[in-house]
Amino acid sequence: MLKLSLGPVLWFWSRQTVLDFYANAADWPVDTVYLGETVCARRRELKLADWLEIAGVLKDAGKQVVLSTQTLIESEADLRLLRRICSQQDYLIEANDQSALQLASTNSLPFVTGPGLNIYNVATLKVLAKLGLKGWSLPVELGRETLIEMIAELKAEGLDLPAEVFAWGFLPLAWSSRCFTARHYNLPKDNCEFRCLQHPDGLELRSREAQELFRLNGTSTLSGARYDLLRELPDMLAMGVDTVRLSPEHQGMAEVVQRFDQVRRGEIPYSDPLTVREAPPCNGYWYGQPGMDQRA
């Protein structure tokens, strides 16, 4: 059966919101949970010890727990945290940057990769497999054609490297060391007053014709439409995808997980609409089209 994963929380939520979210998630039918801050080093509502505590609870609830690492590693402080994550032995880590690849592989710590790490071909996977790769995520801008070929090549090479696909949520599209939320409020990044806390699902950026283009989320930019591959689940199962990733939102996530679970079990037809909060749907990347497109 397809596995379901909960990706790392990409937004900045209050400590209590995060704790409540994972307390609930312990009961959801997800197989894997990614934990940790991946976007901005200034977001420190939870420390590593807090994340490890959550990890313990989720592990006891039967989930596979993966510790996610920051996507853009820029400072010595970022590296210090990364070294601490890579020096524990209890959990797999999700490498989102080459620094994490380096530290995990030199510590002989097994790792998986997140969708922000550029894996576009099997030659890259072979390099990483030698270093301890246990699973990988398809970069969000790639689609089914490429994935089919990669899975076939992996099989031909006799490599067992399970593939994960980002399948629901706002797509993480870009990372910068600049903060666009701070910019919106005319604040310097270093003194941002943690305004992201006011926007638990980002700041909507629209064209002057009111088209929802992007969501500004601190130093990251996400899609304005919500990627939704629910109805593509049977196709993914047939092609040999191992896990589909659902990206956390602070409301309605229990329903999203439930719907994906019902569809993967074949309990309800995948065409049943999933009604969550307002945002246009998109699935273009999966079909080799502009990511924002929605194939009918």
């Binding site: 996507t71 080459q98 890259t124 970069p139 870009a174 283009l213 990511g291």
Partner: protein, 331 residues
């Protein structure tokens, strides 16, 4: 410090070499390099002519093969590596780990530089590329501040090259899919950002409009100068305000920072712009050559000649330049 200049064509390559570039970088006429433009870049014959011209005049030639091949394109990319090696280039600028591995095993004797698209923002990432692919040099993303570069340079296991002048990419290169989200082509997949095929201009009663795959990127009032509709430099609406929500259309210019870059041990400064004309390249190369020569010959007396900045500002987007992320006040 070495002056590394762009060569989108043979005349541009000659202009760069004639005006003092220590090295030029070029790419083939396909999506294997991150600057795929119609009518630009090199076939094998032109590349051979360019390499001969550069070598005769004491300049090196780097070949950028810095997009990310997918299985369907794999042979095109490895063939680009083979062709570059056969042509006798001095270094390959690579980003993809699979391709780096290929180049390392097939052509260990040819220098490998990590492309900015390889997105190395820490010395541990540089060690990763050095340990696994023996890279000699890395081009740093334009998102780092000078302080961050200082920290990185202190522990770097490889030579560092930094962007000095030209268009300003404000996202971590190699990790930006905004373009493919709107148009289906991105720097990673096709070597194109906000590709020309998706651009439309239209005069309307509200003003001149620029669109990218139908999306309104900007609308210009009378007398306002219009820039290329790069989507991160458009004017958008956030919570009721319309502004350059991601970045203003400005160019990067770090000529003021040269003494500091030298002090940090930076090996090379890179000029962006393979899409630019030979005349542009000549002006930029000549200006930076003068600055670097002054720095080399009398570092203590180094001062930026206002004429340099006047020349460079005249060559910049909207006439505006910035230190970009090199200073820390940007928002």
């Amino acid at each position: 410090m070495e002056l590394v200049c762009p060569a989108g064509s043979l005349p541009a390559l000659k202009a760069a070499v004639d005006n003092g570039a220590n090295a030029v970088y070029l790419g083939f006429k396909d999506s294997t390099n991150a600057r795929q433009f119609k009518g630009l870049n090199f076939n094998d014959k032109r590349a051979a002519e360019g390499i001969e011209y550069a070598h005769k005049n004491g300049a090196r030639v780097f070949c950028a093969i810095n997009t990310f091949p997918q299985p369907q394109g794999w042979k095109t990319w490895t063939s680009a590596v083979d062709r570059a090696a056969t042509l006798g280039i001095d270094a390959m600028i690579l980003a993809d780990m699979g391709l780096l591995d290929y180049a390392t095993s097939r052509y260990p004797q040819i220098d490998r530089h990590l492309s900015v698209q390889g997105s190395a923002t820490s010395y541990e990432a540089l060690r990763f590329y050095k340990d696994n692919f023996g890279i000699r040099r890395a081009v740093l993303p334009r998102v780092l501040s000078l302080d961050q570069i200082r920290g990185l340079a202190k522990h770097s296991p490889v030579e560092l090259e930094v962007f000095a002048f030209g268009s300003l990419c404000i996202m971590a290169e190699g990790r930006c899919y905004l373009s493919s989200y709107i148009t289906d082509e991105s720097p990673n997949t096709r070597g194109a950002c906000s590709p020309a095929k998706a651009v439309r201009w239209q005069e309307t009663p509200q003003g001149l409009e620029s669109r990218l795959n139908g999306i309104l990127i900007d609308r210009y009032g009378k007398g306002e100068s219009a820039g290329y509709p790069t989507l991160c430099k458009g004017r958008f609406e956030v919570e009721g305000s319309v502004y350059h929500a991601i970045e203003e259309p400005v160019s990067l210019n770090t000529i003021d920072l040269l003494p500091q870059l030298q002090e940090l041990g930076i090996s090379a400064v890179k000029i962006e712009g393979r899409q630019r004309s030979p005349a542009y390249i000549a002006d930029v190369a000549r200006t930076w050559r003068q600055a670097l020569d002054l720095l080399e010959n009398s570092a203590d007396e180094f001062a930026v000649d206002p004429a340099w900045n006047a020349t460079l500002a005249g060559l910049s987007e909207g006439g505006l330049t910035t230190l970009g992320a090199y200073h820390r006040k940007w928002k």
